[in-house]
């Protein structure tokens, strides 16, 4: 029987690094936190530019059913992805959005809504493309499913050589933003 199964969906548009963000979280859980982490992703022409998603199941025992139909944690980095995937989120779930790119409707069903201007922070760091790693940092701080050291390790292992420092900086910025939001609110 699967124990303590956490279902996560990370969504956005093609090119935002959604898949790499999920890969890093999964790798952190599987290789560094020593949990089971199964990542599946929607592929193909329909994913380029349009809404794309990565599905992640993290568990203390072997993952049997690999897909995520009703995520407990949903990350939306684009409006289109929000429109498409928000209805899947379970009541009481955690919704993480890109603050400048997603205009959410009022949260209901006990859904906890947290927002981060990940793109803006990435631009401040000089490279817009690290917005996914900023988001990973934020996710790590607010979601309580992967350890922060585990994620740092997974980032170092996964990003292109020579970009480790930039990506770790991006992680710290997202992580701190999440920590502050948690401790002090908006």
């Amino acid at each position: 029987m699967e124990q303590s199964r956490t279902e996560i969906k990370i969504t956005g548009f093609g090119g935002q690094g959604v898949i790499l963000a999920a890969y890093i979280i999964g790798k952190a859980a599987a290789l560094f936190d020593k949990k089971e982490a199964t990542l599946t992703q929607s592929f193909g022409p329909e994913a380029r530019g349009g809404a794309c998603s990565a599905q992640m199941v993290i568990s203390n025992s072997k993952v049997l059913y690999p897909y995520v139909k009703r995520p407990q944690i949903l990350v939306c980095l684009s409006q289109e992805a929000y429109n498409k995937f928000e209805p899947e989120l379970i009541s009481g779930g955690l919704l993480i959005i890109e603050k400048d790119l997603v205009k959410p409707k009022p949260a209901e069903n006990g859904i906890q809504l947290l927002a981060i201007p990940a793109t803006r922070i990435a631009e401040e760091l000089g490279r817009r493309m690290v917005l996914n790693i900023v988001t990973v940092g934020f996710f790590t701080a607010v979601a309580d499913v992967v350890g922060e050291e585990a994620v740092r390790g997974a980032i170092k292992d996964s990003v292109p050589k020579g970009t480790e420092d930039l990506n770790l900086k991006a992680f710290e910025r997202g992580f701190q933003y999440g920590k502050n939001l948690r401790e002090h609110g908006e």
């Binding site: 599946t40 059913y65 897909y67």
Partner: protein, 385 residues
Amino acid sequence: MKADPKGVLTGEHYLDGDFACAEGALAAGCRFFAGYPITPSTEVAERFSERIPEVGGIFIQMEDEMASMNAILGASWGGVKTMTSTSGPGFSLMMENIGLGAMMEVPCVVVNVQRGGPSTGLPTMVGQADMMQARWGSHGDYEIIALSPNSPQECFYVAIEAFNLAEKYRVPVFIMMDECVGHMTEKVIIPPAEEIELYPRRLTNSPPAEYLPYMPEDDLVPSMIIAGQGYKIHTTGLTHDERGYPVMTAEAQEKLVHRLINKIRLNADHIIHIEEEDTEGAEVVVVSYGISSRVALAAIDEARAAGIRVGRLRLITVWPFPEKRIRELAPKVKAFVVPEINYGQMVLEVERCAAGQAKTILVSHGGGDVHNPQDILEAIKESIK
């Protein structure tokens, strides 16, 4: 013999099934890959092309799948372990030369990461509907070996097993993955090279003047040569004698084709690899493979919690089919439940071997998604009524 450490990426990785399959092939000593990219198998080729310069060997992106299949047959005669990977439409194109590989007895591995079909179907989504094509897709009578992994970790090991079987029985071996397992990323542990046991090419001890390319050994498999090393041989898709020369008679056909079939059938006990749990004393046994076997586990857990004695039999080898084991179980169980992502393929084999002694219930799915475990649970409950 042990694996060459050069090809073995020892350590803990987070890989998808396609990548893990390519790593398994490299660990098994595969040094020639010819293929044509097609979703959802492209990552097998991608990984191989990325790794092969470090390891030494050849990667060729071919003009199509027919040429890919021919290239791996030719390269195998050149003395290397060879592989190609594809999905349904490409698998169909390979069929003619898969028959040639069976007839010329060429060790090689063909990966089919199955997507929804028929035709171009669902390029990016899961299917398991090429299982009978793997068995019967090329014309004529022959036997092949096919394996089906259910996790990225198992993709790694099954790839090694596929190469060992291809070399031992001199036959094309299929790795029948599905899109879900191919595109699923999980932890994959790659062991040190010295823990990986490989079956070497069966090279002849005979001098060139005495060598007969199709003279079988005791296990019905002939030994091989490497092209260009002084052995002048003839190999053909036509029915041939021990010298490899065409002989157009019923007697030659019986001798050759019966041996091609028997080298697999009579060695089936050595080839078949299945996983069983709680089949003794079970009232129902779930027979499954690939991703369906994992989804089925979720249903089996629930059925057991409801007090039903459920066993499970997982096909890692799908061909040759483990008919002896199904025949043994049939009189002892009420039913076999067979979930697969098609409208009934491997279930036909289960039904044939059950021979009316146990009910056989198919839980079908047309593809594009995996089963809802609830559907399998319902079938288990229904099966014991």
